[in-house]
């Protein structure tokens, strides 16, 4: 997809000489996106969207290919902030952002550069929510494309990609079994739905936790148990947070956890499981397996945190499967191209449905899958509904 379909779409020169900052989890698939943009003529600068998820070998390979990279694995939050600001200093015209991490920092610290930004394409649910807040506050002077909200992104990446890779990472880090496990899933958005689907299919028992009544009802109707967080935590062997917010599991929840509970985070924030609070409430902290830290709560109750509370599928695993990111990054690349070639008004824009459909069509074609075309007479048209003769002739009355 990215290598064929997207490259062809980007070949019209719209990106030539444009300064594009790419801020995403920095691993092999992201590197390929940066390469495709650079090959289309853009001047690409890259930073990681999280202090813990950059792969150094990939970063090195990108530098070798002439891409400017400001990122390293296991950096500290301070170093990561400094890296983001280095990217800001390059005065990007366009940003492919994750969690709006770079956009928000430029708005806060470099209003001069912020006022010259020409567009942002945003990868995540969390980032889109942040940018909408900026818009409402009257602080969004440029167009933003909600790449996350594209069907070809969230329906696949958030649900199947995060769903499969989260479960995969948890099982790989712990070597535990899913059948028979009681799994509390905190948040039933696209990510939570995906995780719940895989947990159920692999023999785990889901209990979903929500604050939104419609999503709670959806989880219930999907056949999952739904409970309040305190009740769910008390019965869980494994807790997965997927709200995209912060402090979903924090100090007041710790007493409810059963001994040996495993805590993993699938949301954007490292602070979704409040690890600093857990540290304060614990007498000891020890990494017992790679990526598995045991906290002794009150000196007697062990609980295990995976990947230090960072996104478990990326910080503790291989990230999303290759095929899924091919879709997501097709959206991002076309979003960036649209920003560079169009004259969109300031504000948050949906990803155009024509582009969404073009990506899905190309993906299906690459799999050798054919669809049907709607034939004349198969759709319910307004003129037919309003013309009595036609209506009767259809035999509807």
């Amino acid at each position: 997809m990215l290598d064929g379909f997207v490259r062809r779409r980007l070949a019209d020169g719209a990106l030539t000489g444009k300064r594009v900052a790419v801020v995403l989890h920095l691993e092999a698939k992201t590197a390929f996106l940066a390469t495709v943009l650079a090959d289309a003529g853009a001047r690409v600068v890259v930073a990681g969207s999280n202090p813990w998820t950059t792969r150094d070998d990939v970063a090195a390979a990108m530098v070798e290919r002439g891409v400017e990279v400001h990122s390293s694995r296991r950096s500290t939050p301070e170093v990561w902030e400094a890296d983001l600001m280095k990217v800001a200093e390059t005065e990007p015209e366009y940003i492919i952002d994750d969690g709006a991490e770079l956009t928000v920092r430029i708005a806060r610290d470099r209003p001069d550069i912020y006022s010259r930004l020409k567009g942002v394409s945003e990868e995540t649910t969390t980032g889109v929510a942040r940018l909408r807040q900026m818009e409402q506050a009257g602080r969004l002077p440029m167009p933003v494309i909600a790449a996350n909200d594209a069907a070809c992104k969230h329906m696949f990446d958030n649900r199947y990609g995060t769903g499969q890779s989260t479960i995969q990472a948890i099982l790989q880090l712990t070597n535990l079994r899913l059948p028979g496990k009681r799994v509390a899933i905190v948040g039933y958005g696209w990510v939570g739905r995906g995780i719940a689907n895989y947990v159920h299919a692999l023999g785990g028992r889901v209990v979903a936790v929500e604050v939104d009544p419609i999503k709670g009802l959806e989880a219930h109707t999907d056949g999952h148990e739904v409970a309040d967080l305190m009740t769910a935590l008390g019965e869980a062997d494994l807790v997965i947070t997927a709200t995209g917010g912060m402090r979903s599991v924090t100090e007041r929840h710790f007493p409810a956890l059963a001994p040996s509970t495993i805590l993993a985070n699938a949301g954007h924030h490292d602070l979704e499981i409040d690890v600093p609070a857990l540290r304060d409430a614990s007498t000891t902290e020890e990494e017992v397996r790679p990526g598995v830290t045991r906290f002794m709560l009150d000196g007697e109750k062990p609980v295990f945190v995976l990947a230090e509370g960072a996104l478990v599928n990326i910080a503790g695993g291989l990230g999303h499967p290759v095929e899924i990111m091919d879709l997501s990054f097709s959206v991002q690349a076309l979003g960036c191209h649209l920003l560079a070639s169009g004259d969109l008004a300031p504000g948050v824009h949906q990803f155009p449905i024509e582009l969404d459909q073009a990506i899905a069509t190309a993906k299906l074609a690459s799999q050798g899958i054919r669809l049907d075309l709607l034939e004349e007479g198969q759709s319910d048209t307004l003129s037919e509904l309003l013309e009595a003769d036609t209506w009767r002739s259809r035999g509807s009355q």
């Binding site: 099982l171 070597n175 535990l176 899913l178 299919a201 598995v292 291989l318 899924i324």
Partner: protein, 400 residues
Amino acid sequence: MSSTGRGMIDFARQFMPALAAATETVSGGGRMTGRRVGIALTLEPKTACFVEAVASLGAEVAVFGSGHSTKGAVAAALAESGVQVFAEEGAERDRVSELREAFIDTRPEYVSDDGASIVRRIHAERRDVLGDLLGVAEETTSGVRPLRVMEAEGALMVPCVAVNDARVKSLFDNVYGTGQSVVMAMLDATNMQMSGSAVVVVGYGRVGRGIASVARGLGARVTVTEIDPVEALAAHHDGFRVRPLAQAVTEADFVITATGIGHTLTAEHVALMRDGVIIAVGGAGPPEFDPSMGPALEWGPEVRPKVRPLSTGSGVTVFVVADGYCANTSAGEGNPIEVMDLSLALQLRALDLLATGDLAPGVHLLPRHIEDEVAGSQLAAAGIEIDQPTEAQIRAATSW
């Protein structure tokens, strides 16, 4: 290095309540005290818990493991705690043979065997230690099969307990454990997505059932191939497409073998595959996938850790996980902790049963009460209660 091994062993023990219960039960009889026990299972954190349980009962324990599945940090941690270790991570074939002979030289009285490799070796080449051998507990389907052949030919000189054949082993370890871990190891090794893909599962025994179920759960379209009409009919009733292997592989994205039988999938089949197919073995390992049988294929260098390309002359390249060794142990950490908890609790009870000295040479099943106790201990740890049959039910079930 050994501190990581220690951490991993202790983490695993936290999720092994059945092994803890079995250790307590066996300690009451005192039969393992002073016995020489050889353990030849895949050497990693869970089996290390078993090794330490046997050692805690007063036995002198020696362990042997192959080069491709031994975890070095775990071996080091065991050596530090006084176990004789004959296993080195990454050891090549000749070195593994040396280690195995040295392990047999400890003249074990009881052996926990995997694939009947030690008991066969002792019967065939090392009869000098056969007199010391008092019993064998066999872990796998692939090992019980040759033991039954030996028994039928009158060649088996010691009592063997077919731990594998216990329902508490094969209904859980083979189905849920291997099913989950083979698919996960393959996905971890390749970073591929399973939803929307076409998966061919070769063999619909317990392992094949587990793999097919996990693949379906992950959103794959699964095709099963079989040589046994009853198993094939079962796959059909479970809602899977059933096809001959040569036909099924032409449409596959993933091919996973689970027959435990050599020469199941060969170069003849690879020649029929599409470009980019992933091949993994969930059964016995080589030569279950035998790329030497059929047209010449060429191996390339690893493209990712544990993934090597195999090319035909006609432009098709497939990718083989862990060189065709069992994917879950060679590209992953083996079966999940909780299912090994059951299997290893049974292993311990089997060793204890053999140590009673009541069993004659031949292949024996574990008695039902032992299975019930082991299953009951994991249920109890999960806080799950079940019903007891009423007097009326017992009468109805036992009368005619």
